[in-house]
């Protein structure tokens, strides 16, 4: 048991070392460029030209945090997995480290989740800089925020594990296009879920997207805007975690051992 823990921590250490020492710029660009433009265009440009209300930014910010959290976690597991399993074979040295195969998959999720949490937290100062009114986090529920960050990041990473181990490498760009775009726009990031009352069918569709629960969780933790009930948020997050965690680790095991 002892050497399994050592191996797990050493794998994490390697990933953190690479993030900090060898590729901090690419990590930040990959994680933050898209949300910066979303914040700027939707939160600043649209209100400026009168296409959105000035307060739209405060509804948008938690949604963009949720979006960044889930997408960063997802991409940081799915993409490296596809590359490491098919092209560079880098995963092999990890699979031969003295720990169970599924623990190697779980470790990938942990690191992707950590990277995602860093990226999501960086949205707060970026929002302060970009949004016309800055951000207002005076009434924030910090404990709630921590819980949503942790659960949302791991759920996103688990979704990435499912994608990265179930899609053949030659189809990964198609799979990304098919999965990411709907995920992006049906996840209650750009609109509060409660405001969809008048568009009932779409409101129901969004409930099948795990991102909805993360965005609404962020809204609940950071603002006093109307949001999905806390119990529903917890259920949605917990359910996504269990379902995708199970599918992802199973997929990883199958991919790693013939």
């Amino acid at each position: 048991m002892n050497h399994q823990r050592t191996a797990f921590l050493a794998l994490c250490q390697r990933d953190l070392w690479v993030t900090v020492r060898h590729e901090p710029v690419s990590f930040l660009a990959q994680a933050l460029l898209q949300p910066i433009f979303f914040l700027f265009v939707f939160g600043r440009v649209l209100p400026e030209i009168g296409a959105a209300q000035g307060s739209y930014g405060s509804q948008l910010l938690p949604g963009i945090m949720g979006l960044t959290l889930v997408l960063t976690a997802l991409q940081n597991t799915a993409l490296p997995l596809v590359i490491e399993f098919s092209f560079t074979k880098e995963i092999e040295d990890r699979l031969l480290a003295p720990l169970p195969v599924r623990a190697v998959g779980a470790q990938k999720m942990v690191i992707a989740a950590l990277r995602a949490i860093v990226a999501a937290l960086l949205i707060l100062p970026l929002g302060e800089l970009i949004l016309p009114g800055g951000i207002d986090v005076a009434g924030a529920n910090w404990l709630g925020l921590v819980a949503v960050l942790a659960a949302g990041a791991v759920a996103g990473a688990a979704m990435g594990l499912v994608l990265g181990t179930s899609v053949p490498p030659n189809k990964i760009s198609v799979a990304f296009a098919i999965v990411l775009t709907p995920l992006l726009f049906t996840g209650a990031s750009f609109y509060p879920w409660a405001a969809l009352d008048s568009l009932r069918w779409f409101q129901v569709v969004t409930l099948f997207n795990p991102l909805t629960y993360v965005s609404e969780g962020m809204r609940a933790a950071l603002t006093d805007l109307p949001h999905l009930g806390s119990g529903w948020i917890a259920l949605g997050l917990g359910g996504s975690l269990l379902l995708f965690g199970w599918l992802g680790l199973r997929g990883f095991g199958r991919r790693a051992v013939d």
Partner: protein, 311 residues
């Protein structure tokens, strides 16, 4: 360390990929690798070598049969097996985000080596494998031969009981190949057990104590290189090179004699069977330039056993 004792034991190994009625990649393989030896697994492409290696390295689950390393069953306790083995794969799987020395130190960290210990050991192994001075290069800048040597260094970082090499010299230039052969023999001298797959006959002949020839998922021969060569029927005798067309006849000395003009004024005479060397030399007289014993090569044995058709 008890030599002759089995480090790897493969018993009745079967592996089938895909549906239960599909073809078997491995169809009943048995062999053992003894402590301190260099064991070769030889076979045409698709013979089942890589699958067999895969089961030993815990990456392939056997359909039937039992594989043990140091007496530990690979399916029952893969983690304990991983602590005892190291693998040098056919294609580079080095960590391209890291420098050469980081590839080694992080690998050792996975196995619990302390910071100082792993740095010292990494430097020692980089020197041993001729990579001293290139330790801070990104592995992306490494040539094929250097990558191969670095993977061997990495494999040795956690002091495995068995080093498994999958076609270690395929695609390397002759210098790198000779260097690696020397290193493998050196490792064996230091007491590491080696198992390698190859279809390079010279490599198998030069390095291996024992060789299993695998084809269609089965072991079809297992012996020392010399023992395997003896499997060739009627391929021994003496070959002579003469300066002129032979003036006397060798026919009385052997079952079968071939005389061929070899060009550039040389003639080749092959005398097959149990031949008395003294009388052959006497007949050849002063025309004799060169003489060697005819012994089938391992390649002849291989083709004899596995046939000529393409895989």
């Amino acid at each position: 360390m008890n030599s002759g004792e089995a480090v790897i034991e493969v018993r009745g190994l079967h592996k089938r990929y895909g549906p239960p009625n599909g073809p078997e990649a491995v169809a009943g393989i048995d062999f053992e690798v003894r402590r301190g030896e260099i064991f070769g697994l030889l076979g045409p492409n698709g013979a089942g070598k890589t699958t067999t290696i895969g089961t030993i390295t815990t990456r392939v689950r056997p359909t039937a049969g039992r594989v043990t390393v140091d007496g530990i069953d690979v399916t029952a306790d893969p983690v304990a097996v991983k602590l005892r083995i190291a693998v040098v794969p056919q294609m580079s799987n080095l960590d391209r985000s890291l420098t050469a020395i980081e590839n080694l130190t992080f690998h050792a960290a996975y196995f619990g080596a302390g910071r100082r210990e792993r740095r010292e050991r990494a430097r020692e192994l980089l020197d041993l494998l001729g990579l001293g001075g290139r330790e801070d290069d990104r592995v992306n800048d490494y040539s094929g031969g250097m990558a191969q040597r670095l993977m061997i260094a990495r494999a040795l970082m956690h002091e495995p009981h068995v080093l498994i090499l999958d076609e270690p010299t395929t695609g390397l230039d002759p210098q790198s190949r000779l260097f690696l052969w020397d290193k493998m023999l050196e490792l064996r001298e230091r007491g590491t057990t080696l198992m390698l797959t190859t279809h390079d006959m010279a490599e198998a002949d030069r390095l291996c104590h024992r060789i299993a020839i695998v084809d269609h998922g089965k072991v079809i021969a297992l012996d020392t290189p010399r023992g395997l060569r003896r499997l060739l029927p009627a391929e021994h005798g003496i070959e002579l090179v003469l300066e002129e067309e032979p003036s006397a006849t060798f026919d009385d000395l052997a079952e079968r004699v071939e005389v061929v003009e070899a060009g550039e004024g040389r003639w080749t005479v092959r005398v097959y069977g149990e031949v008395d060397v003294g009388s052959v030399v006497a007949v050849a007289g002063s025309q004799l330039v060169e003489m060697r014993r005819i012994e089938g090569t391992l390649e002849d044995v291989f083709v004899h056993l596995t046939g000529r058709e393409l895989r």
